[in-house]
Amino acid sequence: MPEDASLRQPPTSARPARWHDVLCVLPHRDGDLARLDELAAADAPVVTVIGKYNHGKSRLLNELMRRDAFAVADRRQTIQLAECRHAGVRWLDAPGLDADVAGEDDRHAFRAVWLASDIRLFVHAAREGELDAAERALVETLRADSHRTRRETLIVVTQADQMEDDDALGRVVSAIADQVPGAGLYVVSSTRHRRGLEDAKTLLIQRSGIPELERALADALARVPAARAHEARLLLGEIRAELETVRNAEAETLASLRQQQMAQRHAFDDGLETLLAVIGGDMEEVVSRAGPDLALVADTGRERYATTAAKLERARIQVAYSRACIRLDGFLAGHGVSGLPQEQQTAAGSLNTVMVAVMGVSVKFRADLRRMFCEEAGRARLQAAFAHYFELSRSRAALRDRVAEASAALDATDRALAALPADAAP
C-alpha cells in the first residue's frame, strides 16, 4: 500500500441522505449511524491514541510509525485531530483529554475516540502516578464499549524512563493495575526506543516495551475485520430493534384510536337507528288513520266537518313532527353534532343548520311523515344524512386528526425500517 505521508484533517462525516428516514425517528442514533458510515467505507483500520496532553501520545505514535510524523514538545501540543497513514493503518492523535478553555478539543476528541477508531491506545505517563478520576471514568467507558462493540483498548503506561527506578515504576504500574483490574498494561518508553534505534543499543530497545506493544497491536489489528463485522451487525440490530419497538407502540396507538373512532360511530349509528324506530312507531299511529290525507285538501269549499277534520289532522301532524324534531335534536346534541350556540357560526356545528339541511323547511304532510319516518328508505336517508354531519362535527374532526397523525408516525417508522440495510454489511 502506498504511503500517504502527509498529515491531514480527517473529513467530518457528512450525514448522508440515506439515513434521513432513520434519523427522523431516532435522532439520538446519529453517532451510531455516522459510525456505520465509517464501517461501510471499509477503509484501513484506525488506531487512536488518547490521554492527557504531554503524556507522550505523539511521541508514542512516532515510534510506532518509525517516523516523526507528529509534532512533539514539552508542552501542550495536540490541539487538532491529526491523522497519518502508515503500513495499512490510519493513526490518529487525539487532542488532550483535558477540558480546554476553548472547548474545541472535545469535538475532535469525540470524533477520534468514538467515530473513527477501531483500536484505542489509552496513554498515561508513569510519573503521574495513579489514574485520576477523569481518566478512570474514560477507561471504564472505553472498556464497556470494548465489551459491546469489540473495539479493543490497550492501556499504555508511557515515559517509563522518567521513573527513579524499577521499584518506583512497579509501584505505579501495580497501583494502576488495581484501578483497572483485568486489563493488560503495556509499559513503554518512547525515548529509550528512539535512542536504542539511533545508537543500535539493544537493551534500550528491549527495555522500551515498544516491541511488546507492537506485537499486541498487530494481534489486535488482525482482529479488526471480525470486530468491524460484529459492530456493524450490532449497531444495525440495535437500531432495528429500537425501530420495531417504536413501531409497535405507534401501531398500538393507531389501532386504539381507530377503535375509538369506530366505537363512537357505532354508538351514534345504533342510537340513531333506535330513535328513528321509536319515532317511526309513534308516527305510524298518526299517519295510518283511515281516510284520505285531509291535510292535503284545501279548506275552501269544504264541508265544515271536513274543514275541522283537516285542522285536527294538521295540528296532530304538527305536534308529532315537532316532538320528533326535539328528540332528534337532543340525540344530536348528545353526540356533539351541535356545538354551543355561540359556536354555531360554522355550518357543520350548527344544530339548526343540520336540522334544516336534513329535514328541510317545508310544511310536512301525512305522506311526507310516512315517507320520512315510517318507510325503511326514508329512515335510511335520515340515518345517512345525520351521519354525514356527525362526521363533520368538531370532536370527530379532532379525532380524525389524531388518527392521521398516528398513521403518519407509523409510516415514517416503516420508511425508517425500509431504509435499514437487511444484512450486516451496509
Binding site: Y53, D98, E128, A175, K311, S322, I326, G334, G336
Partner: protein, 510 residues
Amino acid sequence: MAEVEAVALGSEDLRPALARLDDWLSSLGAGLVGACLSTAALREDSEIGRRIAAANAVIDTCISDWPRQRDALRPAEALARSLDQAVVLLVFGKFNAGKSSLCNLMADRFAAHGLEVNSFHLDADGRLEPCARFTEGAIETTSRIQGIRLGQRLVLLDTPGLHSATGEHAALTRRFVDCADAVLWLTSSSTPGQVQELEELAGELRRAKPLLPVITRSDRYEEDEIDGALVKLMRNKTTADRSGQEADVAERARDKLAALGLDVALLRPPLSVSVHMARAEEESLAAMASAGMDRLYAALRALVSPALAYRRRKPAEVRLRHLDETVLGGLQALLRPALEQLNAALDDATAQLDLRGTQMQEDVWRAIVPLLPDLLDAHAPERDADGVRRSVSQALQSAWGEARDAHFSDYRLGRDGQPAPFEPAPDIGFEEIVIEVEGTRQSVGVDATRLHAALEREIGDWVAVAGDHAREECAACLREVMADVARLDAVLRAHEASLRDIRNDLRAPA
C-alpha cells in the same frame, strides 16, 4: 526569609462590617418567612399545589439549617484566630503535584536558617495538632489538612486534592481554605496547567486572593545504555522548555480566569521548580538557583503584600463567604429551581385555561340538551314550563359540578361565589294548538318547539356566562400564586443586592 519575618501585621476594626452581616441574615430570615407562598388558591394535590409546598419546604429547611451551618463555621474561625499572626498560603494541587515535597523542602530551608519550623494537622474543630513532617508519594497520601508554620509569619496549608477521588476530603478542605491569604497552585511539569483545576479555586479567587502558579517537578531523567546497563541521570528541564511551559500555563490560566469571570490581575507569572534537583548537591546555593527556588522565594515575597490586604479583613471575609455561599448560595440552589418549576407550571396552567373552559362548557351542553325531550314530554300534560326550567336548573347544577371536577379540579373555586343559578325569564312556555270547532276554540294538543328553542338559547347563555366565570376565577387563582412568587423573588433579589453592597464596602480601599 528575614523579610517575611519582618512583615508588620496591621488589622482594622471589623465590628461594623460584622454587625451589618448579622443584620443582613436576620432581615433575610424575616423576609423569607413573610413571603411564604399561600396555598389558598389551589389544592395541595395539584401539580402547582405540590410545587408551592416544595418551595415553602425549601425555605423552612434552609432557615432551620442556618444554626447548624453557623456552628460548622466555627472550626474555620478558630483556625483563623490561631493563625492570626501569620500570612497563610494555600498549597493547592492534585495529589501528584508534589505539594508535600515542596512544603518539606521549604521547611528544611527555613530550619537551616535557624528559624522555628512546626508541622501540624487540623482536627475537626480547627485546632492545631503537632505532627511529623509530610509524607511524599505518587499515590494519594494526604487525607487530612496539614500545615507548616515557617518562623512566625508564614504558614503553608497543604490540602487533600480538592478534586481527589474521595469527596469527603474536598468537603474537609473547603471548611478551612477561607483562612488562606493567597494561593499557590501547584501543577506538575508532566502535564502543566490543567486549568480545569482552577474551577475548584474560583471561590478563593473571588475573594481577591492572589494566585501563583508553580510548575513542579520541572526535571527529567536522561538515560543511556553503558556497558550493557541502563544508567540514569536526573536534570533540570532546560530554560527553553521551562519558559515555554510557563508561557503556556500563563496563557491558559488567564483564559480560564476570564472564562470564570474572575479578575485576571490576581494571576502572578508562573514559575518552574524542581524539588528533586534543589535537593541535589546538599541544597547548595547553585543547586537551589538552577532548580528555580530563588525565583520561587522572590515570587513569595511579592505575594505577601497583596496577601496582607486579604488578611486584614479576614474575619469579615470568612463570615461573608459563609453567608454568600452557604446561606444565600444554598437558597439560590434550591429555591430558584423550585420557583422556576412553579412558574413553568403556572404558565402551562394559564395556557390551558381557554381550552379547558371550552371543553367544560361543551361537556355541560352535551349532558343537558339530550335531557330536554323527556323533560318536555313529562311536563307537557300540565303545560308546566317552569317545571321544565326547574328540572333543567337542577340538572345543570350537577352537570356543572361534574364538568368542573373533570377540568378544574386543581383549583379551589367558589371562594367568591358560585355561578348564578339558572333562572331565565319565564315568558316563553308550551304552545296550545287551538282550533275552532263550530265557533268555539278548542285545544287539540301542545307544541314545545318554541319552548325548546328558548331553553336551548337560555342553557347556552348560562353555560357561556358560567364558563367565563369559572375561567376568570381560575385565572385569578393563578395570578394570586404568581404575585406570591414575585414577592418571594423580590426578597431574594433585594438580599443578593444588599450582600453585594456589604462586600463592596468591605473591599473598598480604606
